[in-house]
Symmetry: C2
Subunit: 234 residues, 2 copies
């Protein structure tokens, strides 16, 4: 057996490695978080993020996607590592570190039944219940990260349906930044990024006139990225 990672020490102790998922969604103009109810003791009935142990034959990111899929039915969504939480007594039962990963999902796409089976519930981001262990901290950190990332990468689009209007996009960014944005300036800015494809369709659910639908232009985004473009949004 090879033993590679450490030079300094012989102290080799195994521990549990878990991953917890911070699942963001956007619905009715509100940024929301998917919160679960524990079904087993201890802390049965308490609110919590959804998580799982990482299996020995499973990549870390694969574990996150497995959890997400089992909780929501969704695959191929935006998911990114947030941070590891490794205080020695973070879990009172045994030593376990958790790598938190956060996902951005289109609420119209997830499987409600699956979610219900897990006792899940969407909460508005500023009306969250108290969560077990260090999950509150995870959510806070994820929220910070989301705000930060949304500013430089167009990840906001991951939370919207494939087709969306500029006003919808603005409301999303307002929810992320938790402040109001100027409609004219916002429109100017996002259009100037050249990553939106205007469609010939309109969405008329919010106005009589209707707002044009757009798609995110992944190809052009990639092209601009490699040419060293700056994507500061809003």
């Amino acid at each position: 057996m090879t033993e590679i990672t450490t030079d300094l020490y012989q102290v080799k102790e195994k521990m549990y490695v878990a991953t917890d998922c911070i699942i963001f969604g956007f619905h009715e103009g509100k940024l929301k978080l998917l919160v679960f109810k524990r079904k087993v003791e201890p802390l049965k009935g308490e609110s919590s993020l959804i998580g799982s142990f990482v299996r020995l034959d499973e990549d870390l990111d694969v574990a996150g996607r497995r959890v997400l899929k089992e909780a929501t039915g969704l695959e191929n969504v935006f998911m990114q590592q947030l941070k590891s939480y490794g205080k020695k007594d973070r879990d009172p039962g045994y030593r376990c570190i958790s790598i938190a990963q956060y996902a951005l999902i289109r609420i119209d796409e997830y499987d409600e039944k699956l979610v219900e089976e897990h006792g899940a519930h969407w909460y508005e981001i500023d009306q969250l219940p108290n969560l077990i262990l260090d999950h509150n901290e995870m959510v806070q950190d994820a929220m910070y990260q989301l705000k930060h990332n949304a500013r430089y990468k167009p990840i906001g689009f991951e939370l919207l349906p494939e087709k969306f209007t500029i006003p919808q996009l603005q409301i999303l960014y307002e929810a992320i930044y938790q402040r109001e944005l100027d409609a004219r300036n916002f429109r100017k800015k996002v259009l100037s990024l050249n990553v939106l494809k205007k469609l010939d369709e309109k969405d008329k659910t919010t106005s009589k006139r209707g707002a044009f639908l757009y798609k995110f232009d992944y190809e052009n985004y990639q092209k601009l990225l490699t040419s060293g473009y700056n994507f500061e949004i809003a």
Copy 2:
């Protein structure tokens, strides 16, 4: 025994948890990385980051600081979690995930003897040797993170001696960003941040006239932070 973290699964498998340290320094106008030589098989003699298993009774960040101290003798330096590396086969010997943490140290402060004992060597950041396992990736990620962070948090100061001149600070930022900066604009910008205390001393090692020494003003920095100040540098 309580079992808290997971709802979904009973699959509970322990694994090794390691931490690897990416140690940046700044010396002679160059950004450098501390690289170690493995002293044990397998891969004996290969270049590597320094790391250790995380102990069962040890917080994750404490483990990072322990490794850093044992490798360099330094405590109380800037250290921050980078990312977890968790591919199932990243270490050919056994399943082990590693949480990479990066440190910024003042090269004039570290204990050379300790470093030598570990077969360590400072490499310029653009002349690194090949490293074992996924350590190259860790360094790349850390470099990206450093560039990014240096832009919004005044972490650059962590790499300089306590007293430094503006031209020195500029050279550091040039090393981090890997491009030249305009001396007049750089000076204007950093001074406008109001986090530098000008001292009455001069450093005359690089010019006849001498350059005034400054200290980073942590107090004022904290004050400005809480008042929501924007710290974009360079």
